[in-house]
């Protein structure tokens, strides 16, 4: 008992409870106070939940916006760059033409609500404003691919909110989520920009890709280039399929800055792009070898790329007509898809659909080209009243008729790209068919 004589103990020792035998570990008072604190805690959360529910019940329900007395049907297309790009060749533009041609006397106006680079979460934030402004009767959605691209690590719900959800304090959890979004936003980019990068984007956006590349190359070759300039150069090189140069630039940067994880990831993306181009050119054996190798490498060092590699292998199997193998790869990919991005996409996409539906607006959910519509159905939880647009089979067939470049401008998402005029036409046709189908025809797939 070498340390027994401490002075710090004496104050605590003087309490009577301890001297009277020390049988009870905690005198009842601790329990009583503890329980009261707990009660106050739970009661407050409950009161907030009930208050929110009451407020929602009392608040006037928004009058259904869908106004059938007019003869004009307004369609709003929500999506990212694949929706937004292309001007009068974009799929919403072509959709308007098709609907008015086949619409049996009804008039249609289609609004292109695509925002390049938008994530589902940001789209959700802007939803109310979009709906108020355009007052559509039909909303077409094609969303989610940017969530994958940006790896929405921060957008997921807080674990505490999940706990509140489980405790059926759902309104409170949602109110927290919505206040968080309003307060913080997810895509606020108000940091100062690098002028070199800004200028490169400007050039790139106005079709002067070669000039943009030239200026970036010059900046990177200069003294002490900044990471974001190098990153921009590598991205532009990848988009314009100068993959060997992209690999060299990224490799040199990594050699000098071994801790730049973002660039490491980019470097890992390059062989993906190379193998994707091989699919496009019909060099299937080469592509399959590359992706099998990448699948193995991803499993070891970059698990976030595993699903992508498996998806590609599935596409290759599909093109060969080996649908059993494709299904096996897709199943493997599906089992690996437990990432935060998926969860965040699911949360905000589902919320988006339910808000639109609450306003009495019809939702047409479109899957991306060459992706299975079943995964979209699963992502949305298959709520009643949603009709789906399947672009998987159409584009598979299309690729057998004409090469990749005929349908797509690039391979931006890995397994598909920004649609060219013909690709947008396919999208528009599929959407028009679903919108014009009689309601009894079911899910239009």
């Amino acid at each position: 008992m070498g340390w027994c004589n401490g002075v710090a103990r004496t104050a605590l020792m003087s309490t009577a409870e301890f001297d009277s035998g020390g049988e009870t570990p905690q005198p009842p008072k601790v329990w009583r106070r503890g329980v009261l604190i707990g009660l106050g805690f739970v009661a407050t959360l409950l009161a907030l939940e009930l208050g929110l529910r009451a407020a929602e019940a009392l608040r006037d329900r928004p009058a259904p916006v869908a106004d059938t007395s007019e003869n004009v049907v307004r369609v709003l297309c929500l999506g990212e760059s694949i929706t937004a790009f292309g001007g009068n060749q974009s799929y919403p533009s072509q959709l308007e033409g098709l609907l008015n041609r086949d619409g049996r006397g009804k008039r249609f106006t289609v609004v292109n609500g695509g925002v390049a680079g938008i994530t589902t979460e940001t789209m959700l934030q802007q939803l109310d404003e979009q709906l108020e402004r355009h007052r559509p009767q039909i909303v077409v959605t094609m969303l989610g691919v940017n969530d994958e691209a940006f790896g929405l690590g921060n957008a997921g719900r807080l674990p505490i909110q999940a706990a509140l959800h489980r405790a059926t304090l759902t309104h409170l959890a949602l109110a927290i989520q919505e206040s968080r979004l309003k307060l913080q936003g997810t895509a606020v980019d108000d940091a100062p920009h690098n002028p070199i990068v800004d200028r490169a984007w400007q050039l790139f956006g106005t079709g002067q890709a070669d000039e943009a590349l030239a200026e970036l190359r010059q900046a990177v070759a200069g003294p002490e280039p900044r990471a974001e300039v190098v990153q921009t150069l590598v991205s532009f090189l990848m988009v314009s399929s100068r993959l060997e140069e992209a690999k060299t630039v990224a490799g040199q940067w990594i050699a000098a800055h071994p801790n730049d994880t973002a660039m490491r990831e980019t470097l890992f993306r390059i062989p993906f792009r190379q193998a994707t181009l091989a699919i496009k050119d019909g060099r299937l054996d080469e592509a399959e070898r590359a992706f099998t190798e990448l699948e193995r490498a991803a499993a070891e060092t970059h698990p976030e790329f595993l699903v992508l590699a498996q998806g590609k292998l599935a596409s290759i199997a599909d093109i060969r007509g080996d649908h059993a193998a494709a299904a096996a790869y897709r199943a493997a990919a599906a089992s690996g898809r437990t990432g935060i991005a998926d969860e965040a996409t699911k949360q905000s996409y589902r919320r988006l659909v339910s808000i639109v539906q609450q306003r009495g607006i019809r939702v047409v959910a479109m899957q991306y080209p060459l992706r299975s519509v079943d995964t979209l159905r699963e992502l949305l939880g298959d709520p009643p009243g949603v009709t789906y647009v399947d672009n998987d089979a159409t584009f598979q067939t299309a690729l057998q008729i004409a090469p990749w470049e005929h349908w797509f401008n690039d391979t931006v998402a890995g397994d598909f790209g920004h649609t060219a005029r013909a690709g947008s036409r396919l999208l528009a046709e599929n959407v028009a068919r679903v919108i014009l189908a009689p309601p009894s025809a079911g899910n239009g797939t």
Binding site: M1, G2, W3, C4, N5, G6, V7, A8, R9, L12, M13, T15, E17, F18, G22, E23, T24, P25, Q26, P27, K29, V30, R32, R33, G34, L36, I37, G38, L39, G40, F41, V42, A43, T44, L45, L48, G153, N154, L158, P159, I160, Q161, L172, I176, S179, R180, L183, Q184, G185, V188, D190, A191, P192, H193, N194, R226, E228
Partner: protein, 462 residues
């Protein structure tokens, strides 16, 4: 397992329930044994191998302590002390400074850099110091611990394990022979301390940190006023981060009926560099004073030697925070101010210290410390120079995070100058219990809305 992780929110109640409810109070040894096991589980959740290091440190210093007590032979005692020093500093050196030494050596010799693939075990800086202080104390004549169980708990007790406070044997071991007594007010005090700590971390430190990180990430793009704002914001970020962490650690320890030493006392109200170190990370600065400064000879040799010792202590103290030249610079920077202050104070004895004089002293000291934090925050010497060079580019770029920081700063400064946190908490726990619960619920909801997606505690990396 971070304090602000879900795992910890599950780990803590289960551990507490088993400790306080399942194991009867009369089985005190079993409770202690359980706490040791829980602490090892906590530590090994990072990496199971870390447990071996901690156990190694425990066994080496426990047996060294016993052996030291058994012998009076001077040479043998020195050998035993050296054994403990070599073991603990060896661990620290190998894991923490290996890469740094290797890096600088290869650069110096002009060889290509080689990878040093050693994971730095969290907490190692803290428990090697705790373990060392025990052995040195016994060497200096204190009694050795008799119970291996108590000693193991002293080193591993999870609230202080990963980021302090650096507990002294004399402050902790005497609490262990007899079971502590739970009283209601202590439970509420512990709960309030934990909640206040979380508020400091999530609402103040993380919000400020969002801005600080944004600026330091793109330093070359931000003009002077942004950089200055980031300097001040970081001073408060690091304070609320670390003192918030300490509050949680002390509160959690209190839940188990054990007391840990205080680590902060309104550091930015210090009137001199010397006083700053009596108010900031107290458990580290007193450790450095008692075991490094005093061992170097302290102020007993000559005035010049005193100053050299002071400077050396601060440089090594800086290096303790991490194997980088920026930390060495930071330590040296504080060392120089301590030396200068000592010189001035010696020449001009404390005569007139009016209120105005104090205010000025506080302002000067605060700004010296803020400047020091720039060294501390910089990821490299290049980044440090870049930060200072940005001060020549006049202007302010409006960002949302910057506005939040600019609004928060005067608030936290007022908070810092206001009543002590202890006083506020004491008043809080006198509220009726259900009201306290309601306050916790509201704080939780507000925290969920306002707090940025959480970051690590700064001091976990040291």
């Amino acid at each position: 397992m971070l304090f602000n992780s879900v795992e910890f929110l599950i780990f803590l109640p289960i551990t507490l329930a088993i400790y306080a409810v399942v194991i009867p109070a009369t089985y005190w040894r079993m409770r202690k044994l359980f706490l040791v096991l829980a602490s090892y589980y906590f530590y090994m959740s990072w990496n199971p191998l870390f447990g071996l290091l901690l156990a190694g440190s425990t066994l080496v210093d426990f047996s060294t302590g016993l052996a030291l007590e058994r012998t009076t032979h001077h040479g043998r005692r020195r050998a035993l002390l050296a054994l403990s020093l070599i073991f603990n500093l060896g661990l620290l050196g190998y894991f923490k400074y290996g890469a740094f030494v290797m890096d600088n050596l290869t650069t110096f010799l002009g060889r290509p850099p080689r990878a040093w693939d050693i994971v730095l075990p969290v907490a190692i800086s803290f428990y090697t110091f705790e373990s060392l202080s025990y052995t040195i104390n016994v060497y200096r004549g204190e009694r050795a611990a008799r119970s291996l169980l108590d000693f193991a708990l002293f080193l591993s007790f999870f609230p202080h394990l990963v980021a302090g406070p650096i507990v002294r044997p004399r402050a902790f071991l005497p609490q262990l022979p007899r079971p502590p007594v739970f009283v209601a007010s202590q439970f509420e005090r512990a709960l309030a301390r934990i909640a206040f700590g979380f508020c400091k971390k999530l609402l103040l430190a993380d919000l400020l940190g969002q801005y600080v990180d944004a600026v330091w990430k793109d330093l070359h793009l931000y003009p002077a006023l942004n950089v200055l704002l980031a300097f001040y914001a970081y001073a408060f970020q690091i304070y609320f981060d670390f003192s918030g962490y300490t509050d949680i650690a002390l509160g959690v320890a209190q839940l188990f009926g054990l007391e840990l030493p205080e680590n902060f006392a309104h550091p930015y109200l210090a009137r001199s560099p010397r006083e700053f170190w009596q108010r900031w990370h107290i458990s580290l600065s007193t450790w450095l004073r008692d075991y490094l400064y005093v061992s170097l000879g302290g102020n007993r040799i000559s005035p010049l030697r005193t100053q050299v010792n002071l400077l050396l202590t601060m440089v090594l103290g800086g290096l303790w925070h991490g194997a980088a030249w920026t930390f060495v610079l930071w330590g040296a920077y504080h060392g120089v101010w301590l030396v200068l202050h000592r010189q001035i104070a010696a020449e001009q004895p404390a005569a007139d210290r009016g209120r105005i004089g104090d205010g000025l002293r506080i302002a000067i000291t605060f700004h010296l410390v803020v400047l020091g934090w720039v060294f501390f925050r910089a990821g490299s010497v290049d980044e440090l120079l870049l930060a200072f060079s940005r001060l020549h580019v006049w202007g302010y770029h409006v960002t949302r995070a910057g506005s939040v920081a600019a609004i928060l700063l005067p608030l936290v400064a007022l908070l810092h100058g206001g009543p002590t946190a202890t006083a506020v908490r004491e008043r809080f726990i006198r509220l009726p219990a259900p009201l306290q619960g309601a306050a916790y619920a509201l704080a939780l909801v507000i925290g969920c809305i306002v707090a940025p997606t959480s970051e690590r505690f700064i001091y976990f990396q040291f």
